[in-house]
């Protein structure tokens, strides 16, 4: 396979060319170059995926193959989940570029160049088999993302969001550096397969456990698990819409991908005997994140911030799924991530339509105004249903796998967490659909139903228009269709299950990476959807609809509830929301607490 390095190099070359010619190139030329490069990368990633499904393989940069199982150069170690994530990222970059065609000034090619670098970083991050190389792409992704967040420099929100994002993620990256140093001192290796091989067979000592905690907390900062999640809502809510698509659709999930990759390639051997305790830690973290994100999501009126918190809630669910440390759990996450990526991207695009047309993303300001664009409303509602994992769609298959993985792992309460997350996030989006596109519910948030002060700021666009480019609606419609049918294509979900089982084969990974042997895997089992799954998921969707209806039509009832009953929860909720203060000092204090908690819990439980 000669093309292995190209998904990274082609966009880099494209970006360099765009910058070189940016003083003269007309807008159309930037669009064409960037679009062509993005499509090329989609094709390249798909070819890699097709090859890796049956034969995962390692590619050694510079031809530096391992000598006596000692890795010398940097490898791209390509298996189907890695290549699949790269493909998802490439597809989302391509759609984001198409979406921004009719919408965005582009700042003389800078935007296009940065998007291409973003693409290169994500592809490299997914494909690499070298721990330090992964960090390099993590930093590249970060550097580009900070700049893109601040794209609207004339507004305050983007600057604040970018600053908090950059500082939080940099601190996370430095934790990863220290983790890498610890592992390098122990194993003398940077290739993940080799580190894992060197750690095998000995029980994990504090050094290995602390290295794991540092690496995990660093990558979880990108993924935005509680309590290192604060930056995400600030950044995702203010970045330009085409960028939000990538942030929420795939970048946060890449943080989790790194956690899974690191666990199964590096730590699975050494920590195998303590898998149950590690499972408890990760599932606990995921549960808190899922609920926290869900509650925050439901209390937002700023639509992009609402979607940002729904991403946090889903990250929590995905973290639970990975934390179950089983093939079925991981397969559920992978399936859901694909469905969620398309779905969340489409929702951000539809909010972009509202912003483009009405110049605001405030739920109450938009009350009833969406009636003139019913199509958008229908799509938005579908997006809400997909978010609640309505039976029959891709996210539903992912959720069903997660449910059965949770029951397998004797965590019978975990499916309830997933349902709560579905109800809160799906319900929030459905509520917005009702209020904005149907004109249902209160037009003003009355004082006694007010959950907290409004966080209103204008961003991106402040002028309203009376037309919407059809492209801005067509692209999200296609993405929603993709989010529905992907899981229905025969063979996709069983294929993902096999891929997840292969992904978790620690010993086989070391063999195919370091010795170049063709991978031999035990046949993996695939699951069936039971009636129970349909009922359970239907419960989530009905719950989301009911919650939305209750908020839209039942707000007068709330007034009748005596204050003594409502007061304490409201005070608690306000205090809880105040934690998201936007103050970088707070965020870093919480980051330190998160690192201490994860490290401390790991040191206590994993020995």
């Amino acid at each position: 396979m000669h093309i292995v390095a190209l998904p990274v190099v082609v966009p880099m070359i494209g970006a360099a060319i765009l910058v070189g010619i940016r003083q003269w190139a007309p807008r159309l030329m930037n669009d064409v170059i960037a679009g062509a490069v993005a499509l090329a990368v989609v094709t390249l990633c798909t070819i890699l995926l097709a090859r890796a499904i049956h034969h995962p393989f390692a590619y050694w940069m510079g031809g530096w193959r391992p000598k006596d199982s000692v890795a010398i150069g940097i490898s791209f170690s390509i298996d189907s989940l890695g290549a699949g994530m790269a493909t998802l990222a490439a597809v989302l970059v391509a759609t984001a570029l198409i979406y921004s065609w009719r919408y965005f000034d582009g700042a003389d090619g800078l935007f296009h160049a940065l998007m291409l670098l973003f693409m290169a970083a994500m592809a490299g991050f997914c494909l690499t088999g070298d721990l330090f190389n992964m960090l390099v792409f993590f930093e590249l992704m970060g550097a580009v993302a900070y700049a893109l967040t601040a794209y609207r420099i004339e507004e305050r929100g983007p600057l604040q969001g970018a600053i908090n994002f950059a500082i939080s993620n940099s601190v996370g990256a430095y934790a990863i550096f220290v983790g890498i140093a610890l592992l390098y001192a122990r194993t003398g290796a940077l290739n993940m397969a080799q580190i894992g091989h060197a750690l095998d067979g000995r029980p994990a000592d504090p050094l290995v456990i602390v290295a794991m905690s540092l690496l995990f907390i660093g990558f979880l900062t990108k993924a935005a698990a509680v309590p290192v999640h604060f930056w995400l809502a600030d950044a995702h809510a203010v970045a330009p819409t085409p960028v939000c698509i990538l942030f929420s659709g795939v970048m946060a999930e890449l943080g989790l991908y790194a956690v899974a990759r690191l666990y199964w390639t590096i730590f699975a051997g050494a920590l195998g005997p303590h898998a149950e305790q590690l499972q408890a830690i990760l599932v606990a973290l995921g549960t808190v994140t899922a609920i926290w994100g869900g509650v925050m999501c439901y209390t937002q009126r700023h639509l992009k911030r609402l979607l940002a918190f729904s991403t946090i809630s889903h990250i929590g669910v995905f973290l639970c799924g990975i934390g179950l440390l089983s093939p079925r759990g991981l397969a559920g996450v992978a399936t859901w991530v694909a469905g969620h990526g398309f779905n969340k991207a489409a929702l951000f695009m539809l909010v972009g339509v509202l912003l483009h047309r009405f110049g605001t993303v405030d739920e109450f300001d938009l009350h009833g105004r969406g009636r003139e664009i019913r199509v958008v409303g229908v799509l938005f509602g579908i997006g809400g249903l997909l978010l609640s994992a309505v039976p029959g769609v891709t996210s539903f298959f992912g959720k069903s796998l997660l449910d059965s993985a949770a029951l397998e792992a004797h965590d019978p309460w975990l499916p309830a967490v997933f349902v709560i997350s579905s109800i809160l996030t799906g319900g929030a989006v459905l509520r917005v659909t009702g209020r904005v596109f149907m004109g249902w519910g209160a037009a003003q948030r009355e004082e006694d139903v007010q959950l907290a002060g409004a966080a209103r700021e204008s961003d991106e666009e402040t002028t309203s228009r009376d037309h919407t480019p059809p492209l801005m609606v067509a692209v999200p419609a296609v993405l929603l269709a993709g989010s529905i049918v992907l899981g229905l294509i025969p063979g996709v979900v069983p294929g993902i299950e096999r891929a997840a089982a292969h992904f978790q084969d620690h010993a086989a990974y070391a063999r195919w990476v370091l010795r170049g042997q063709p991978a031999q895997f035990a046949p993996a089992s695939t699951s069936h959807i039971e009636t129970f799954d349909y009922l359970y998921a239907a419960g989530g969707t009905v719950g989301a609809l009911a919650l939305a209806a209750l908020t839209l039509f039942g707000y007068r009832l709330v007034r009748r509830v005596p204050n003594a009953l409502l007061g304490p929860p409201r005070t608690a909720l306000t205090a809880f929301r105040r934690l998201h203060s936007g103050h970088i000092g707070d965020y870093i204090a919480w980051w330190t607490a998160g690192a201490a908690a994860l490290g401390g819990a790991s040191l206590v439980l994993l020995r």
């Binding site: 490299g124 700049a147 504090p206 707070d586 204090a589 330190t592 607490a593």
Partner: protein
């Protein structure tokens, strides 16, 4: 949170995090006892197979040259970011005040200092180029030399002539140079793929150890990096300079 709450939270958290770090770092071999395989394997390879005497450069531009590709584009992307963030917005009436821009004096440079500054420019450029091209032999390489090269035009500014610095290093040209450097480094990798079948394959003749043209692609890669780094730092400097020189109209919106 109030400042006190924040500091109390941080104090408790930092104590815990400190303990975690201490546990982890205590597992390291004592300082100076390191016996890792990777470094020793490479010590052998670098000289015998790459004819380079500075192993750090051999790793940087060849054995782990792919990391450097990412690193160069981090620099490239960040500078794009700086340009994007500091770009002039419509309606921002930031224009250089003519007299200040013309004969801008930074921290009151005296005539003697200016003369001295101008005199050191050739020396700076010579040192920079020397460090870029001797990367495979002695400490240094594209990055270190590149930053030094960027300091050259900066000295013109220190000598008091802002506009003349723009003349010495016009921004468009610098930006193209930067892009060409980044592109060049990517092409070094790509040429390995096209001409030798593997990305980043070092296929140029290796030369004699210790000579200027040894190490195959190392020199080419180092030069490309030098061009990119000097361009990148110059663009960043000049963006910050633009900000510092102009006097703002009405910034607070």
């Amino acid at each position: 949170m109030t400042r006190t709450t924040r500091l109390v939270l941080f104090g408790i958290a930092a104590a815990g995090f400190g303990v975690v770090l201490a546990y982890g770092l205590a597992g390291l071999p004592a300082f100076g006892d390191y016996q890792g395989v990777y470094g020793h394997v490479i010590d052998g390879i670098g000289v015998t197979e790459r004819h380079a005497t500075d192993l750090v450069t051999a790793i940087n531009f060849d054995i782990r040259g792919f990391d450097t590709l990412g690193e160069e584009f981090i620099l490239f992307g960040s500078v794009l970011g700086v340009v994007l963030i500091l770009r002039q917005m419509r309606g921002e009436h930031d224009r250089p005040r003519q007299h200040e821009a013309d004969e801008h004096t930074f921290a009151g440079a005296s005539e003697a200092l200016r003369a001295l500054s101008l005199a050191v420019i050739p020396a700076i450029l010579a040192i920079g180029i020397y460090i870029v091209v001797h990367g495979q032999l002695t400490p240094g390489g594209g990055f270190q030399g590149g930053v030094i090269l960027a300091a050259g035009p900066l000295v013109v500014f220190l000598a008091g002539r802002y506009l003349r610095m723009r003349l010495v290093a016009p921004e468009t040209l610098v930006e193209i140079g930067e892009a060409a450097g980044a592109l060049g480094y990517a092409l070094v990798g790509l040429s390995g793929l096209v001409l030798a079948g593997v990305f980043f394959k070092n296929f140029l003749p290796l030369g004699i150890s210790g000579h200027l043209l040894s190490g195959g692609q190392l020199d080419v890669a180092s030069t490309a990096v030098g061009l990119e780094v000097s361009g990148a730092f110059l663009v960043a400097f000049s963006e910050f300079l633009d900000q510092a020189i102009v006097v703002s109209g009405s910034p607070r919106s």
